[in-house]
């Protein structure tokens, strides 16, 4: 054997193109790092500069009500959205007939395309007045439950309204993801269950739900990530106060980080701006953790990667 090693020709075009593609890919990592770095750099003056009136008790006591509001509103939204999303996904994947199901899928996807400012407008001018009588009823009859206690808001601009709006907003993405997973249930499992005489619900309980459970969890986490960062709908609907309060029907609600930034930023000056950026950095950190956990759960089962 003579030692002939065929050597690939390194064309200039190949090198340039491959490097361009490589840099585009790496720029994603660089961008995320830059976002964190710039937000951090711009947060620093909030701590080193002159004291800020809005946060006279220090940064922590300023940001904690907002962190609480962000998490609380998102969790309410998630608690409403998750069972509904599972129901919708089941309906489209296993209950509706195939042709109808496709149209329904589009309809749910349409919900995802509606801008958040439109949700905000609808939430404040339509949903809040519509829910207000129900809030009164809840307060009168279930007021002994702490979260329903307190003076009911007359406008309906409460934490519960925000939770419902957030639920509607994260529903499409969660339903779409869970539906994809339910559709991937091995056909043989389903048919085996049915052949053994299971009813449709028993088949779902035995074959579909166990298969889809990690998917439901990760969809809920992605929905949570969305809800945490949602800005305009919350800013428009909620009547805010800087308190930590579990009551969902009153007009003193803990604002969310994102909504607080949107409301304060346009008028902010000096290092108040930097303070708001610092709260934004906190939000960025929270959503990063939630999203990374969700993606990690998904990536453990690669077949679920159709997240978008």
């Amino acid at each position: 054997m003579t030692d002939i090693k065929p050597k690939a020709v390194r064309r200039l075009g190949d090198v340039v193109f491959a490097n361009l593609a490589f840099f585009a890919g790496v720029s994603i990592l660089a961008t995320l790092a830059t976002v964190a770095a710039f937000l951090f750099a711009q947060s620093v003056p909030a701590f080193t500069g002159p004291p800020i009136d809005a946060a006279s008790d220090g940064f922590l006591s300023y940001v904690i009500p907002f962190v609480f509001g962000t998490v609380y509103a998102s969790l309410i939204g998630l608690a409403i959205a998750t069972p509904l999303a599972v129901g919708i996904a089941l309906y489209i994947s296993h209950f509706a007939n195939r042709r109808f199901a496709q149209v329904l899928g589009y309809a749910v996807d349409l919900l995802a395309a509606i801008p958040s400012v439109v949700y905000g407008l609808w939430g404040i001018l339509v949903l809040a007045p519509f829910l207000s009588p129900t809030f009164n009823w809840l307060n009168e009859n279930l007021g002994w439950i702490p979260i329903f206690a307190g003076q009911v808001s007359a406008t309906g601009r409460t934490m519960l309204t925000v939770g419902i709006v957030l639920a509607i907003m994260v529903l499409p993405i969660m339903a779409a993801l869970i539906r994809e997973i339910f559709l991937q249930t091995p056909r043989l499992h389903e048919e085996a269950a049915l052949a053994l005489g299971a009813t449709r619900w028993e088949m779902i309980k035995m074959a579909v739900l166990p298969f889809g459970r990690p998917g439901i969890i990760s969809a809920a986490m992605l929905g949570l990530g969305r809800a945490l960062g949602e800005t305009m709908a919350v800013a428009m609907v909620l009547s805010p106060a800087a308190v930590v309060s579990f009551a969902v029907l009153t007009s003193t609600n803990s604002n969310t980080i994102a909504a607080n930034i949107a409301l304060q930023f346009p008028e902010a000056g000096g290092n108040y701006t930097n303070l708001l950026i610092a709260t934004g950095l906190v939000l960025f950190a929270i959503t990063m953790v939630v999203n990374m956990f969700a993606r990690w759960v998904i990536s453990r089962r690669a077949e679920f990667s159709g997240a978008n």
Binding site: F22, I28, I114, L222, F284, M292
Partner: protein, 354 residues
């Protein structure tokens, strides 16, 4: 054990088909009638549809479950109950969609006129005025964001599908997914933090909005392009290599044209997603009542921010401001719908057949 067996085999009869819809209609009518009675008796001020729906549904579920349990047995009864619950979940999700569409259209048409599309808000107090300045701003800012995102997004997707192997590619894939979850307001803060370095505190300009939007748009473009490149059959690439075509020309002349329709669809959907973004534009592009064609200088109005500020800063003639907000919302919804429709049409008519 015997008892269990008995109960699970009890009732081999099926319920007649007409029973369940009849029960449904019956209970809703009864529940509605009860509310009407309450209202006429002065117990409640007006008919509230939430209790009508809740009690109608509750009555229907209980009745159907009991009847089915007696006649068909417990297993089928549970199945019927779950079917009711799942269908309810689905109808609940459709209610906001219908309500939103109805409200936006009925309230939006009041000011959906020629003046709305030909005037800005300069020197307008009360009625009249329009959103031309906002529409121009939205077109320019979204256009620039698209110009930034599309090349980066497509090249990054090419890297992931055609070149990327090993740790870096895995990292990029992971962080693209994570990037889709970056809150839009953080993107706005980032653009501000970036521009403050060059232009000083309080900076507002359209270009910043474009930067913020492209941060949100790039991951969507990458995902869509990646999916499309992945379904290009390997045989096409191998055929090109066999003819001696270099890899970069294979990608440019074979792979990309094959998946172009799908990529265009993905870009359309990405545009539709960012065109409604409000928060980042509120922070960095700001708001103004005047025309501004120059994205490199001064505040620039955009359509979502127009909707927000019309609602938030209502003037003396409140209704005029609200009408403009709804008209803006209707315009925005129509733009998003059209973009989605165009995306579907592109993928339907231009994708490779066979």
């Amino acid at each position: 054990m015997t008892a269990q067996l008995n109960s699970s085999f009890r009732g081999t009869q099926d319920l007649p088909k007409w029973l369940s819809p009849t029960l449904l209609v019956g209970f809703f009518l009864a529940s509605f009638g009860f509310q009407v009675l309450l209202a006429s008796g002065g117990e409640t001020a007006e008919i509230n549809f939430i209790p009508v729906a809740v009690f109608g549904l509750l009555g229907f579920s209980v009745a159907l479950y009991v009847i089915s349990r007696v006649i068909e047995g417990v297993r089928k009864a549970t199945d019927r109950l779950v079917t009711i619950m799942v269908s309810t979940a689905f109808s609940l999700a459709l209610i906001p969609l219908i309500s939103l569409a109805y409200t936006v259209v009925t309230k939006g048409v009041a000011r959906f006129d020629a003046e709305f599309f030909t005037f800005s808000m300069r020197n307008v107090v009360g009625g009249g005025g329009g959103a031309l300045h906002a529409i121009i701003g939205t077109i320019e800012i979204t256009g620039i964001a698209t110009l930034i995102s599309v090349p980066i997004g497509i090249m990054a997707a090419i890297y992931l599908v055609e070149y990327g192997r090993g740790t870096i590619a895995r990292l990029v894939t992971f962080f693209v997914d994570v990037m889709t979850g970056v809150p839009s307001i953080v993107a706005g803060l980032f653009a501000y933090a970036l521009f403050v370095i060059f232009f000083g505190p309080g900076v507002r300009m359209g270009l910043g909005g474009a930067i913020a939007l492209s941060l949100l748009m790039i991951p969507v473009v990458i995902r869509a392009t990646e999916e499309m490149l992945k379904i290009v059959p390997n045989e096409l690439r191998e055929a090109a290599y066999a003819l001696g075509v270099p890899k970069w020309l294979t990608v440019l002349k074979v792979v990309l044209p094959t998946s172009l329709a799908g990529i265009a669809t993905g870009i359309m959907i990405a545009i539709a997603r960012v065109i409604g973004e409000t928060a980042p534009l509120l922070l960095i592009a700001g708001f103004t009542a005047s025309m501004n064609y120059n994205p490199f200088d001064e505040r620039m109005m955009t359509l979502p921010v127009f909707v927000y500020t019309s609602y938030a800063n209502q003037g003396v003639d409140m209704q005029a401001y609200l009408d403009r907000a709804w008209a803006g919302a209707l315009t925005l919804m129509l733009i998003v719908m059209v973009l989605n429709l165009v995306a579907r049409l592109i993928s339907k008519y231009f994708s490779p057949k066979g």
